[in-house]
């Protein structure tokens, strides 16, 4: 008799740190019981987290692969499992399996490019991994611009890291915006797509767009208006997932499985998919 080893069987993860980002987003630090990173990953890849008996779901690994000590997940409370995850205390064990999906082409197409990161709300989660990867290998990339927006000041994920680290880096410009005026806010007010148009970037950049579908749609249109081609713009797709390995048949758009062929797609590749997402 032997034991079945299968990619559907997770390993144990321990939550060693919990950061409250916004009223409905927390960032969890996860390691194995012996204090190591559960597995290596590339920027843009995801993992399946679960609380046995509650459920299992896919989350972007928001920490950079260059962090060799632990993984982080920024999780928005929106349903059964995520509610449970939000109720966890430090020391709680969960299960984890992965990594899943393709990744951003950080070591190929992105090399030597000026980068424009655009995120809305929790959409910063997959981007943070790439941003910190680019910051770590700073010489490999050109100028970096980050446009990030949320509903309100309180809804900006990773605000502390952005203010304490990103804005202080040479060659990185961070452009924050919130949807509506707030007394304490001195920055820009307005929706991300309009802000991107206002900022009017050089069109020689590679853009990466993550956020709610509606934001992606209007921002992409805005980028095209100021002269970007779809082949310069990358995004991530999100569909319901169960297996993460292209077998349960749940996350396909036409013949592509988002869990395996995605979640990262170039916008001209998205155009080739049938309109069902």
């Amino acid at each position: 008799m032997s034991i079945i080893n299968d990619s559907l069987i997770p390993v144990i993860g321990v939550v060693t740190d919990i950061r409250i980002d916004t009223p409905d987003v927390k960032t969890f630090r996860v390691v194995t019981p012996d204090g190591k990173k559960a597995f290596d990953h590339k920027p843009g890849q995801c993992a399946m987290l679960s609380i046995p008996g509650v459920g299992e779901a896919m989350f972007s690994i928001t920490s950079s692969p260059t962090n060799t000590e632990f993984m982080e997940f920024s999780i928005k409370k929106c349903g059964c499992l995520t509610q449970w995850l939000h109720a966890m205390e430090v020391g709680q064990q969960i299960t984890i399996r992965g990594p899943y999906g393709n990744a951003f082409p950080v070591d190929t197409e992105f090399v030597g490019k000026d980068m424009l990161f655009i995120a809305g709300g929790i959409g910063l989660a997959p981007l943070r991994s790439v941003i910190n990867y680019c910051r770590h290998y700073r010489d490999k990339y050109g100028k970096i611009d980050i446009v990030y927006g949320s509903r309100s000041m309180e809804d900006l994920v990773d605000y502390k890291e952005i203010i304490d680290e990103w804005v202080k880096d040479d060659g990185i410009d961070v452009h924050l915006t919130i949807d509506r005026e707030q007394p304490e806010w001195t920055g820009h007010v307005g929706f991300v797509p309009n802000y991107v148009k206002e900022l009017g970037f050089d069109t020689n950049k590679t853009a990466i767009l993550c956020g709610p579908p509606i934001m992606i749609k209007f921002t992409l249109a805005g980028l095209q208006e100021i002269g970007f081609d779809k082949t310069q713009v990358y995004t991530t797709m999100e569909l319901r997932m169960k297996c993460g390995i292209g077998k349960c048949g749940r996350c396909n758009i036409g013949s592509k499985y988002v869990c395996k062929d995605g979640p990262v797609f170039r916008c001209d590749q998205v155009d080739e998919l049938p309109d069902e997402y």
Binding site: S7, V11, I12, E56, Q93, I94, T95, K247, R250
Partner: protein, 339 residues
Amino acid sequence: MRKISLDKLDQLFAEISSKSALYIPVDTAAGAKFEKYDGTKKMSDALNTVRSAKDFFFPQTENLVDFKVEGKTIEIKETVKEDEDFVVFGVRACDVKSFEILDRVFLADPVDNFYKNRRDHGIIVSMACTRPAETCFCQTFGIDATAPAGDIECHKTTDAVYLEAKTDKGAKLLKSLNALTEDADASAVEAQKAQTKEVFKKLPLAGLDASAFGDGKTNEFFNAPEWKTLSESCLGCGTCTFVCPTCQCYDIKDFNTGHEVKRFRCWDSCMYSDFTRMAHGNPRLTQVERFRQRFMHKLVYYPTNNEGIFGCVGCGRCMAKCPINMNIVKVMKKLGGNK
């Protein structure tokens, strides 16, 4: 090629089942189904089992792993492999072909080791067809029901069963049965094959052509207005997906027994409304999109990902079982016929 006379078939079953679990199709009140041979069961004469043979490798529910949750800690209890060989006797050509279609999903990297383990331990003894039904259209997909392959290929005539090994696994099993079987020449089998082929030519679906579909045809069919009319009365019951030998969608669900959590993998259906539902909406909002998904997957997406091989084997089960009499043949005729 070896043969055994029909009156000695029980001895053959007894011999096989003395060494490993043996499953044969038997007649039940609910139609033919595969059951474990117990020394008394008789092989069904029905053309095919109501449910497909995919259960042997991809069962309707299976326990993936168990968890013991105590306070903040979790203990993972891995599943133990079933490593006994088993023999499935009397699998028709369409179902044999369906294993190849499932293999391309479950054995693709990363391999599904639950499935692989069963494939490694399963021995398929196929059975050639002689009396195909009006709902059969395996020939549309290039399947020869008179040469069903498997590990051992069988042909049943009026007085004997002829057996021919097709793989090493099959050869080993067949050799172990030498005391019961005798050498045979292929003439009786060849004659029967030729006769059956004539029957196939006259089947109502003999002319059904799939060549309008296949690799790279997504854009051609995705927005066809016919999906709306075709799916109009679909109940979303999922019957077609459950009886289908090539449908592979699954769900992963936990069950708390009170002292542990059991994680199961169970069949799911793209015909169900909550299959793709998400917090910010559902990409397949109505039955039109779900219905389109099932047939596009078989006829276009699967071939696109698998060198043109179709994801349907023409077994006709969905034709026999759909409560509103909808099926893949109607879809093919309506969509392919208009091109």
